[in-house]
């Protein structure tokens, strides 16, 4: 590897890893948007995964692969609990319930001294490497592509377009919606664990309302009609403030503006094309 590339990667490793993690978060958002559900709990599940992984690594010395699995499992479990009662309702209730859930979790973290409370949890060893992050991203992306071009993709889209019609052709809508929520949570939990293990410090305020909205903006910008959309949206929105230094303070303003402009003028996002759903 040429020295300039080596230097570049070392200096910007944190930023590049961040791109990968944000892409996974984008896919976590895609999992629920593909069914037309607006779950805004990704930040909360990310936090759950982050804290679970941090505790397991630092206090119990659990091997990293197991830590990742545990982070995903914890988030998936939490998603099942909040998912079951809210799935029967219209999307607006789900959005509000997941925002509320995120706030409860954040308050919980702030008040739990075992995990550092409001001061955060530091000293997490840097076990998440670029190859792991991007390797997982690639696997997840391939999985989504494969699912979209199959009966699963058709079921997702049917549910998004017309739930009752989907039921009338034999799709178990409730099971699919719950599964989407659980997968979304597991991916967010994974992203949280990976993030914790390269930033080495996490704090409750990283997993609040603003983060939830930022993750949503990945999917809005890139579009949610194909799995690549949120990934592209994540790359663009994460890289832009870095690339345009003066924009750094305006990051949140920019995110908000993007969401507004795209929803009004480009409702399908940048990558608005539709993928074929035949296997």
């Amino acid at each position: 590897m040429p020295t300039w590339l080596d230097d570049f990667l070392w200096a910007y490793s944190s930023f590049i890893y961040g791109l990968g993690v944000n892409a996974i978060l984008g896919l976590s958002m895609y999992a629920v948007l593909a069914l037309g559900q607006l779950s805004l709990g990704q930040a909360a599940f990310m936090g759950l995964g982050a804290y679970t992984s941090a505790v397991l690594t630092v206090r119990f010395d659990v091997p990293f692969p197991l830590v990742l699995c545990a982070a995903m499992a914890a988030s998936a479990f939490a998603a099942t609990i909040i998912g079951v009662p809210t799935l029967r309702l219209t999307g607006v209730y789900l959005a509000m319930a997941t925002i509320g859930f995120g706030e409860v979790m954040r308050i919980l973290y702030i008040n739990t001294d075992y995990i550092g409370g409001a001061l955060g949890f530091s000293g997490i060893p840097e076990k998440a490497q670029g190859s792991i992050i991007f390797g997982l991203l690639a696997i997840i992306l391939v999985g989504f592509f494969s699912a979209t071009r199959s009966k699963l993709g058709r079921a997702f889209e049917a549910i998004r377009e017309d739930e009752d019609a989907a039921r009338a052709i034999g799709i178990n809508v409730t099971a699919y919606k719950l599964a989407a929520l659980v997968i979304s949570a597991a991916l967010a939990g994974l992203a949280g664990a990976l993030n914790a293990h390269f930033s080495s410090f996490i704090s409750p305020n990283e997993y609040g309302f603003d983060t939830a909205v930022t993750i949503l903006s990945f999917a809005i910008l890139g579009g949610a009609t194909t799995p690549l959309g949120p990934v592209l949206g994540a790359f663009v929105l994460s890289a832009l403030p870095e690339v345009l230094r003066p924009l750094h303070d305006f990051r949140l303003v920019f995110n908000g503006l993007i969401i507004v402009l795209v929803v009004i003028f480009l409702p399908k996002g940048i990558l608005g094309f539709r993928m074929r759903r035949v296997g």
Binding site: I107, L216, D249, F250, L252, I264
Partner: protein, 293 residues
């Protein structure tokens, strides 16, 4: 002591109720969860603060200025963001998303313009020493809050029930197309509701700013999040529900802080919301969800 706790709960709940009534009114008519209200809270408080501190008008006038100013801002923002979506018949969730982006944008702008430091209303405005009333200690601020909320709530109910615009609002809430066929100017109703709801929310912001003696760009967010809980518990679109649930939430929070732990009082709202979603999703006064096999 219990009576004092109850009184404080009543005061807090009143502000929650005021905010939530505006919020739920918008949902009932416009069918939108309008997250911009988190911003309008701060806008109202800041406008009044500027009026009092920099222009020197008395508090009551500043309150009216703040409310009306916010109302106008709200009409502008709501129209800019929501009208294009309504024209394009976009799905309900698009409106939620666009106001999500909008509030992020506006809050951040406000942060950049005004900075994060906490401002306060001038100390001389309202007397800080509480009045004794039997066993209760009542602050002048608290009295102001209760009176204003009571007046506004009564006015709102009368307005909705008795005036022509109020009836038009109820008609549009029930069925916009039918209302249009009956000659109701639906666009005017939307503007009217935007304005009205925003003035209520702005006043809630001013009252909160006075009660906690703090004005800062993100002050609307806790109110917004509690607003979610209140409108879910009370039933989306129902202003009686918002009133009852708002007061109830004030009660729940103060009791949690007093008897359980003040750390978790913030979580009480969401716990109550989740419980409602689990047990009776339509809320106290909401329409019920269709039965499924």
């Amino acid at each position: 002591m219990l009576a004092q706790q109850l009184f404080n709960a009543f005061v807090l709940g009143s502000v929650y109720a005021l905010f939530s009534m505006g919020f739920t009114l918008t949902f009932g008519v416009l069918r939108v969860i309008n997250l911009l209200y988190g911003f309008y809270v701060a806008a109202g408080a800041f406008l009044s603060l500027v009026a009092v501190r920099d222009i020197g008008v008395p508090l009551w006038a500043a309150g009216i200025l703040g409310a009306f100013g916010t109302g106008i801002i709200a009409v502008a923002c709501d129209s800019a963001l929501l009208t294009p979506l309504r024209r394009a018949k976009a799905p309900e969730l698009s409106s939620l998303i666009v106001t999500l982006g909008g509030v992020l944008l506006l809050n951040s702008l406000m942060l950049l313009i005004f900075g994060a430091e906490v401002r306060r209303f001038p100390v001389t405005l309202l007397s800080q020493s509480p009045i004794s009333f039997g066993v209760l200690q009542i602050g002048e601020v608290q009295l102001v809050i209760i009176v204003i909320v009571a007046v506004l709530v009564t006015a709102l109910f009368l307005f909705i029930e008795r005036t022509r615009l109020g009836i038009a609002i109820r008609a549009v809430a029930e069925n916009p197309d039918a209302a249009a066929l009956m000659g109701v100017n639906v666009d005017a109703v939307f503007i009217g509701v935007s304005f009205l709801a925003a003035t209520l929310i702005a006043i809630a912001g001013i009252l909160i700013g006075l009660n906690f003696n703090a004005v800062h760009p993100y002050m609307g967010e806790p109110l917004m999040l509690r607003g979610f809980a209140v409108v879910i518990i009370g039933g989306l679109g129902d202003i009686r529900g918002a009133l009852v649930a708002g007061l109830a939430l004030g009660f729940i929070e103060v009791m949690t802080a007093g008897y359980l732990s003040s750390n978790f009082k913030d979580a009480a709202a969401f716990a109550a919301m989740v419980a409602t979603l689990w047990l009776r999703p339509s809320g106290l006064f909401g329409r019920s969800v269709t039965r499924r096999a």
